[in-house]
């Protein structure tokens, strides 16, 4: 059920400030797409426009088209809440709900929407999601403990479990490993590999090795100059990107000769 995303001529604004300019790309279904680039070049901003989280910030708006399986995301008839149910998101910092147990955090998507479900059904979803996020064995004996009692890496995997529990078709990850140690990072990268078979995954990362390890396709964002809007420099299969990129600036960034 995974979906592909077509983006054409997308301009992203914060109020009057043009943050990202003229993005065109096609994100393939059931593949991992990584965005790399320097800080402040609009990777995360662009990611947030893919499930209409961008407009949560007051004054933020978008021009252009984002098409998900034939539907325009920014059509006035589209309900942003429905979009977010289809396109889940994992954030940079782990953010489990502090008032809820591990169990409740996982089924938060259904529970907060007051969806009626049988206990056995909920149990099944919790187990499936936690197994999917590689967390089940670590927490199966303490599901009723608060979600905040876990370590940082476990909290991040809990957030991934929470995101996949609502069975979205696309999973957006905004630097999911930047606050984690190498072991947790590797656990999450393994997880991304497994999830690829069922979900379309888009990941923003500062770690180029990570982009090379996990992604099938890579987009490189950059600023033309300080104060100028960010733009997509190059979008290619990861292997090509890291061996023989089209643009010289991509090669400069990847090989560390940037700026």
């Amino acid at each position: 059920m995974a979906k592909s995303i077509d983006v054409s001529d997308l301009n992203i604004y914060y109020g009057d400030f043009l943050a990202v300019e003229g993005v065109n790309m096609t994100i393939r279904a059931k593949a991992v797409t990584a965005f790399i680039g320097p800080s402040g070049c609009g990777k995360s901003t662009f990611l947030r426009t893919l499930n209409r989280m961008h407009e949560v910030i007051p004054g933020a708006r978008v021009e252009g088209k984002v098409m998900v399986s034939g539907q325009s995301l920014y059509d006035p008839a589209i309900d942003p809440v429905a979009v977010r149910r289809q396109i889940g998101m994992v954030f940079q910092r782990p953010n489990p709900f502090p008032t809820m147990s591990i169990y409740d955090n996982v089924i938060a998507g259904s529970k907060l929407n007051a969806k009626k479900m049988k206990r056995s059904e909920a149990d099944a979803i919790v187990e499936k999601s936690l197994r999917g996020a590689n967390l089940w064995n670590e927490v199966k004996d303490r599901l009723d403990k608060p979600g905040m009692s876990l370590s940082g890496g476990q909290q991040q995997r809990l957030c991934i479990a929470r995101a996949i529990a609502v069975e979205p078709e696309v999973l957006l990850m905004d630097e999911p490993c930047s606050a984690l140690d190498p072991i947790s990072t590797s656990a999450i990268e393994d997880l991304i590999h497994e999830l690829k078979s069922e979900y379309t995954i888009v990941i923003v990362t500062h770690n180029m090795q990570q982009a090379a390890r996990v992604s099938d396709e890579t987009g490189f964002f950059n600023l033309k100059a300080a104060g100028q809007p960010g733009h997509l420099v190059e979008f290619n299969p990861t292997t090509k990107m890291f061996t023989n990129p089209d643009e010289p600036s991509t090669e400069a960034y990847i090989s560390g000769r940037f700026g």
Partner: protein, 366 residues
């Protein structure tokens, strides 16, 4: 020091300089005892009062300890000792009226409280006897009604200000008006409620509900302020996490934001209650005073504890023939004051317990 100097001798040189002469631990106690002793001596010789002696002891302590420290430890440590002594002295001075007040009220009030005092009203009581039953119920009912009015209004205002009104003109106007409301004198709130009910029901109206309206005018700004602070403390990450799961804004507010802030909001509400429970003037104006029990907020005068204290003190009755001492009303006023203070303290305690109970659990070991 040249850059080629080997590291070790260098570090040794530094650590030698780090050692400073320090006053012994018991220095503070010693100076305290000496100050007290000197002040005591002066007090005995000159015949000052106890308070004068204590003030002198504190001044001696604040002056003596830094001086000794300056001689032994140096300027910076002396300044530190001086500031520490000042802070502790200020703390002690603040504590004095509180302890004194509680001591006075317990001392005078405890003897007045017995079974009759808590279960009788003042109907047909002349001289001693009688109790606060009617005032106790009046206070409970009026405060409860005020809470029922102000918590929804205050909470919804706070939710609007934090979740919907960010940067909007209406929100800024609301914040300004709430700030103005904080400064309303309580008697003005009482007169407002009185004129409101006079306009509706005609002149000479006295009902308990009017008192509740007056109190809620005083309560709402406090509730708005504390709830607003608490809602702002909820991290935006949580709201975004909820939105990203496809949960609508109103459900996010009800099920994520409010539960996370619940402990603080309840604490704020309880503190607002204990703030208005002792208000006298507005209740005297609108709810009136009576000697009988009245459980109906919407009909007739209603007695409350602060008004009871006021009326017992202003018209304490007469000493029975052949008896010595104060009029019986004084003891009743002290007793009622003690009951009121106990209620406020219990409320504060409850607020603290609720606050910790509902606070998000972050402890790793649980």
């Amino acid at each position: 020091m040249s850059t080629t100097t080997p590291l070790e001798p260098d570090t040794f040189a530094i650590s030698a300089n780090l050692a400073q002469p320090r006053l012994p631990r018991w220095a503070v106690v010693l100076v305290g005892v000496i100050s007290l002793g000197l002040a005591g001596l002066v007090t005995l010789l000159t015949g000052w009062s106890l308070v004068g002696g204590l003030v002198l002891a504190i001044l001696l302590m604040v002056a003596g300890l830094p001086t000794w420290s300056l001689l032994v430890e140096g300027r910076r440590a002396a300044a530190d000792r001086f500031a520490t002594a000042l802070v502790w002295a200020a703390f002690a001075v603040v504590l004095v009226p509180l302890v004194w007040l509680i001591w006075m009220v317990v001392d005078h009030g405890l003897s007045a409280i017995d079974r009759e005092f808590l279960t009788y009203d003042m109907r047909n009581v002349v001289g001693s006897g009688g109790g606060i039953y009617h005032a106790l119920w009046g206070t409970i009912l009026v405060t409860l009604a005020a809470t029922v009015i102000s918590v929804p209004i205050g909470l919804f205002t706070a939710i609007y200000l934090v979740e919907y009104g960010r940067g909007k003109r209406l929100a800024r106007a609301t914040t300004f008006l709430v700030d103005v409301m904080t400064g309303i004198p309580s008697i003005v709130a009482g007169l407002f409620a009185l004129s409101l009910f006079v306009l509706i029901f005609g002149p000479a109206i006295r009902i308990g509900f009017g008192g509740a309206v007056a109190l809620s005018l005083l309560m709402i700004p406090t509730v708005v302020r504390s709830a607003e602070e608490m809602l702002r403390l909820v991290p935006n990450d949580l709201r975004e996490a909820s939105y990203a799961l496809g949960i609508p804004k109103w459900r996010t507010i009800v099920k994520v934001v409010l539960p996370t802030a619940l402990g603080g909001i309840i604490t704020g509400v309880v503190l607002a209650i204990s703030r208005v429970i002792g208000e006298t003037a507005p209740l005297l104006v609108v709810a009136g005073a009576t000697d009988s029990v009245n459980f109906n907020l919407f009909d007739g005068r209603m007695m409350t504890l602060p008004v009871y204290i006021f009326s017992q003190y202003s018209s304490p009755g007469v000493v029975p023939v052949g008896m010595e001492g104060d009029p019986p009303g004084y003891a009743r006023a002290w007793g009622a004051a003690l009951v009121l203070i106990v209620i406020v303290m219990v409320l504060n305690l409850v607020a603290r317990i609720i606050g910790t109970y509902f606070a998000p659990k972050t402890d790793r070991r649980r």
